[in-house]
Each structure stands twice: as C-alpha cells, then as structure tokens.
C-alpha cells in the first residue's frame, strides 16, 4: 500500500463515518429529546428497548442491510450494495440508538430543570425541543462523538455491505482486517494508530468548534 492509498482510505473512513453520524444525529437527536419530554403509555419500554439496541451487533446489521440491498432483495434495483452508500446506511442503523439514548439522557436532565419555566411560558412542543436541544448541546456533542467513534471503529457491518473493495469501499478498519489476514501484523497496527489519530482529530475539532473549555469558562 502506498501513501496515496493510505490518504484515500483515511479520507473515505472520515467521509463515510461523518456522513453516518450526521444522518444518525438528524434522526436520533429529535427522537431522543421527544422521548424525554413526551409522556406516553409504554415509554419506559421504549426507552429500555432503545438502550438495549445500543448493543446491537454490527455484523447482524450488516447482514440485514445486505439482504435488503442485495440484487435478490427488495431494494436491489437501487444498486447500492458494495458502495459507500450502503456502508453509511449500515453505520446509521448501528449508531442511531446510541445517539438517541445519550440525547434522551441529556435532555431529560435539562427538562427536569426547565419544565416549570417552559410550561408556564406556554411554549409549544416544537419550541421546547428547540430550546432543550440548544441548551443541551454539550451533551449532544458527546452523543455525536460517541456515535462517530462507534462508526469509525466498526468493521463487521461495513465488511459485509461494502465488501472492502480497493479504491471503492476500503476504509481503515477493513484495511486493518485485510493486512492482518496477510500476516502483515505491524502494518495493521500502524493503520490502527492512524485510525486512533483520526478519532482524536475529529474529537478535538468538535471541541474547538463548540468553543468549550476556554480559559475561565465552562
């Protein structure tokens, strides 16, 4: 593998997992917040199910997405199998419960504090969601980073739906698997170091953007 290839798979890892995190956040954050402020029958069950789905095995997700996207499956005509789109889809399914659960946790704590105020101001549900999500953005960032971390380190699902095709769907984790299978163990470890460095860069970037932890400020 050459340097150009390394850059390529690193950027692909980043693009796929950031996209998956973005899409998952758009679904999971409003849902998690809604779950926190909207009482309904069976909510406890819904939350327990959500928390259980955090541990959903990526390889099972990969298998289900494969069966759906396969040419012999219901969405085969889309021709998405073995493309980065399929990998994004699988990662979205894997990390959405995690982000939703962490969002729910954050928003629930805020809601306990804001509830009387927001109710007395006669806010609509939409306004409440917006306020809670904005004021809870630090917790939401952690939720997003946790989701991203799970997505970029994941290999079971994307191996099945992406296929680890060189110059098409190969990312860092699947490249590590490949190099290990070739017995190039040290090269695989080096790729692992790149993967960790990438997570660190994204995490630092997110913290810098949120302007937190500045001097004399929380």
């Amino acid at each position: 593998m050459e340097w150009g290839d390394l850059t390529e798979i690193t950027l692909r890892s980043l693009a796929v997992s950031l996209s998956a995190t973005g899409v998952a956040a758009l679904i999971a954050m409003p849902f998690g917040a809604w779950l926190a402020i909207q009482p309904f029958r069976g909510r406890r069950w819904a939350i327990a199910t959500l928390n259980a789905l955090i541990g959903i095995p990526p390889v099972v997700v990969g298998l289900v997405v494969y069966l759906l996207l396969s040419r012999s499956g219901p969405f085969g005509v889309l021709g998405l199998l073995f493309t980065p789109w399929a990998m994004i889809l699988a990662q979205v399914v894997v990390i959405t419960p995690l982000i939703a659960s962490l969002t729910h946790q954050t928003v629930r704590d805020l809601w306990l504090r804001y509830r009387d105020l927001l109710v007395s101001m006669n806010t609509t549900r939409r306004q409440r969601l917006a306020i809670l999500l904005r004021d809870g953005q630090r917790g939401l960032m952690t939720a997003g980073l946790a989701g991203f971390g799970r997505a970029i380190g994941e290999v079971g699902a994307i191996m099945i739906v992406g296929g680890n095709i060189d110059h098409a769907t190969r990312v860092l984790t699947t490249a590590i698997t490949l190099e290990t299978s070739k017995g190039n163990l040290w090269f695989a470890v080096a790729l692992g170091a790149v993967l960790i460095a990438l997570s660190l860069v994204v995490s630092l970037g997110a913290h810098a953007l949120s302007r937190g932890e500045r001097r004399a400020q929380w």
């Binding site: 950027l11 692909r12 693009a15 796929v16 950031l18 996209s19 973005g22 899409v23 396969s70 040419r71 012999s72 499956g73 085969g76 005509v77 021709g79 199998l81 073995f82 493309t83 980065p84 789109w85 994004i88 296929g163 680890n164 095709i165 060189d166 110059h167 098409a168 490949l178 290990t180 299978s181 070739k182 017995g183 190039n184 163990l185």
Partner: protein, 293 residues
Amino acid sequence: MIRLLLTLTLAVSAMTAQADTMRLAVTTSFQNSGLADELLPAIRRDTGHDIQVLVVGTGQALRLGAAGDVDAVLVHAKSSELAHIQAGHAPYRREVMYNDFVILGPQSDPAGVAKAETAAAAFSILAQGDTRFASRGDDSGTHKAERAIWEASGNAPSGSWYIETGAGMGATLNTAVGLGAYVMADRASWLNFGNKSDFEILFEGDVRLFNQYAFLPTSAEKHPHIDGELAKSIESWLTGPTGQGMIGAYRVDGVQVFFPNANDQTQQSNHGQRPKLAIPTCPRPPVHSGQRP
C-alpha cells in the same frame, strides 16, 4: 451542519461515480497471493473496464453470484461450481489456472507428516489427535478440498485437536502459527504470508492437492441488470495470451505460484473431467523454507 452534510454527500457521490464497473468475487488465495494486484491494473488498461474485486471464500463468492450481486466469480471448488451451473446461476465455467495445496506445520514436525506417502496418509497421522490441526471451517474452496482429503483418508475429524477457525486463509494461518497447529493452505497464500514464524511446508505433491481455479460469469438471463459483455471481456482477457502470460510469469520470492491452463487440450468449459495433467506433471516449485532470501 447542513453544509457539512452537503459536502459529505458530494464527497461520497464522487467516490461512487463510475462507468463500466464490473464486480468480481475472488477467493482469498487469489488476493493474498498478490496476483490480483498484478493483474487488475493491466485489465483496466487493456479492456478499459474498471474491475472491483471482492475477496471472499468460494462458498460466499458463489452465493454472491447466485444473488446477482457480482458479475462473475473466480473460485476453486469444482463440485460446487458444477452445482452452481446446474442451478442456473452461471451459464458455464472456464478454467483459468491452477496451483496446489500444501500441508504446513512447525519445522520440528512433531506428528511426522513429512514421512507420509500421500495426502490422505498425512491426514490419517494427524487424525490421531496428538497435534492440533487448524481448518478453515468456512465452506471455502480450500475447506472443501480439505474435507475431501479427510474423507479419502477414512477419518472424520472431530475433537479438541481439530480447530475450525471459520475465517479466511490468512486469519487461519495466523491462528495455526499461533497455536503451533498443522494447517492446509494453497501455496500462493503461504508464500505471500508475512507471519510465517517457524512454519514450513511439510507435505506437498499429491494429486489430491491439485487446485483448479475457474471463472464463472453470473447468468445474465436470471439477472437482467448484469452486463454479460463486461464479464465476457474480462474472461477473454484472463484466458487470452496477455492474461495467461502474466499469470505464468508471476513470482512470489522467485517462485511460480500459479500455472495458466485456460487453453489446454483437456480444458472443458462446461463440464467434464479434471484436466489430465495434475500435480505430478506440474512443474513443482522448489520447497520453500519460509525464510526470505
């Protein structure tokens, strides 16, 4: 946030935009031997088609072909291939090249496999269970070949000494080396393997260790989205003078690991017997000790 997503969408779109892309499922040995990296750029250059390679076991490769998820497969398990054709998933098979399997183990050879006369006899020695044996256990071509030899040896391998890794060739070699277990692998994968430790080839050269690779296009009749011409052009290249020449010229550490035989007289494209030539007549590479020169 929205802008970021939009940028990412464009980035991903750019990654997927391709014309005339053909997907080929190949076995791990083809990829791990390094031959794929040698042939693919040449195929792109000569045919103008982009070719995407999925590296899986023979069993999974055939399933991908049956589902219409790949345009063709390059695999090595004749009985499964014939069943695949019988089921209408592929119109025919075209033999492309062959190599052979070898039995590997620790240099000290505690079980004494090197003294065996035949592959089946070697397996009978291993079946005594004094030493461990690592099997692919993944329904791959290598696994099927291994099971056929167990059957020929009259042993049904089971017990704590028989380890089924359920993984690819490389992963299984890693396991075997780690546990000091005997293992059967194709010669190409072994020579190109980077974590040999003190392992070496202990047995080779039996007819049963013959390993034929064949190209099976996916049935365009069954899967209208498959462009049969694309697979045809790749097949023509692989079996033509350039492809066959490159396969024969490929060396790992100076050793020839694949032998082109697409145009042998005995070649049967649809069905028929094993090519007359087998291991004894195949120019056997010198025993490779595992140390790189």
